[in-house]
């Protein structure tokens, strides 16, 4: 059985374009490696109603929800309070979080930083080896920092506890043939191999059009068969298929 996840990115800085998000790709790859597929991503504003709506729209549908952003000490860090409201539980001062912040900040533990120890009732801590202020898990929702380095360190701690499904096998072949020339034959291959996902990604490089075709599936044999048929089709069209992903290198989906 598939294990499915949703990523909710909380941050005006992504919606304004000030920052190009990198957490989505990191989580997509890292979760895929443990057999969890990201099926949806939402980017929402630092806005209470928007965060609560997104969390409650997703946490009943997906096995896992991962949020990034909005758990720092400043007025615009509202994620923790929103998660408590989404679950209908109060915030309380978490003893272990308080201890970690006290140890790390000492006399600098002002009211703003203390707020980072106020977590929803029932939350368990997610370690933050970088700057101590913890993330937390509540039910199937994992609440992590937005700063990529901190988020990645938090995810390292979370990973061993995640329950993945079977791994997907995947193969990519690339040739300098035009996607539209490949399309009708590829549709037939997709129809013959219904358990395999075939994704087609055109690119343009050195004044030449090409296409990378990604096949993915839980049945490794079926996946390999479909990929082989794609290669044969590429050759029939005069291409010289290679096991590389030039479309991804170009960043062109």
């Amino acid at each position: 059985m598939d294990r499915l996840a949703c990523v909710i990115v909380i941050g005006n800085e992504i919606l304004s374009g000030r920052i190009r998000d990198s957490n989505i790709q990191f989580l997509a790859v890292a979760l895929g490696r443990v057999g969890i597929r990201v099926k949806e991503v939402r980017v929402v504003a630092d806005d209470e109603a928007a965060v609560i709506a997104a969390v409650n729209a997703c946490r009943f549908i997906y096995d896992y929800v991962f949020t990034t952003g909005g758990i720092g000490p400043t007025h615009d860090d509202i994620t923790t309070a929103c998660i408590a409201k989404a679950f209908g539980v109060p915030l309380h001062r978490h003893p272990e979080a308080l201890e970690r912040l006290t140890r790390y900040y000492g006399a600098s533990l002002n009211p703003a930083r203390l707020r980072m120890a106020d977590l929803p009732e029932g939350a368990t801590l997610i370690d933050n080896p970088i700057s101590q202020a913890p993330g937390f898990r509540l039910g199937n929702v994992f609440v992590m920092a937005g700063v990529p380095r901190v988020m990645q360190a938090m995810f390292d701690g979370v990973r061993p506890g995640l329950q993945g499904g079977p791994a997907m096998a995947s193969r990519t072949v690339t040739a300098y043939v035009r996607e539209g020339d490949l399309a009708d034959g590829m549709t037939a291959i997709q129809t013959r191999n219904p358990t395999v996902e075939i994704g087609s990604y055109p690119f343009f490089r050195n004044d030449r059009l090409g296409v990378s075709v990604v096949t993915r599936g839980y049945d490794a044999d079926a996946m390999a068969t479909a990929s082989g048929e794609i290669e044969t089709l590429m050759r029939a069209l005069g291409g010289d298929p290679q096991p590389v992903d030039l479309a991804a290198e170009d960043g062109e989906p």
Copy 2:
């Protein structure tokens, strides 16, 4: 009045992490420049139900919806058919789209490529100066390619027809002070300046912690006042505020 937009990114290649999306940031910045704020982004799979649900969840809430991806000639390009279903209108062969594809492809206009001329009834074309296959607009939904270069060229054509709201004034100041030391004073500044959005973004550079504070608002005077108060606060904490955005340069929201 704010003019608000939602961006819907359609593509398994983003959800699998194979590609790091760049269309979100491009559209966020480009729309912001014409006075349209991106308030939400969704990334959904190449899956009919998911695309239809996202489009219909967003097109009644936001002034504009922009989709990227899934309008090519291959079996996994399902966006156009999904938009038609979301609006409850049939697909028909669009005469002008057919003419453009015929002119561009000539004898190579096979059934797969012809499919790109089948658009929802009522759609108007969005020019594609790169590879001719057009995008389209239906109601307040703009359907564009996923390949960034093509999407950006399509957006250039769309831009003059968009109706923006007032422009937001914005200013950023950065200092090597710790975000948590700034937080309580910044909350007071936010409370005194309720029409201004104050965003706080920590970063770590050369072994030093710092913070970039972004103030944004429709009232340029109020925005400048709030930004000035942030500077004063940074100085009081021993910082030397500069009008740069080191947090964004580090890619750390």
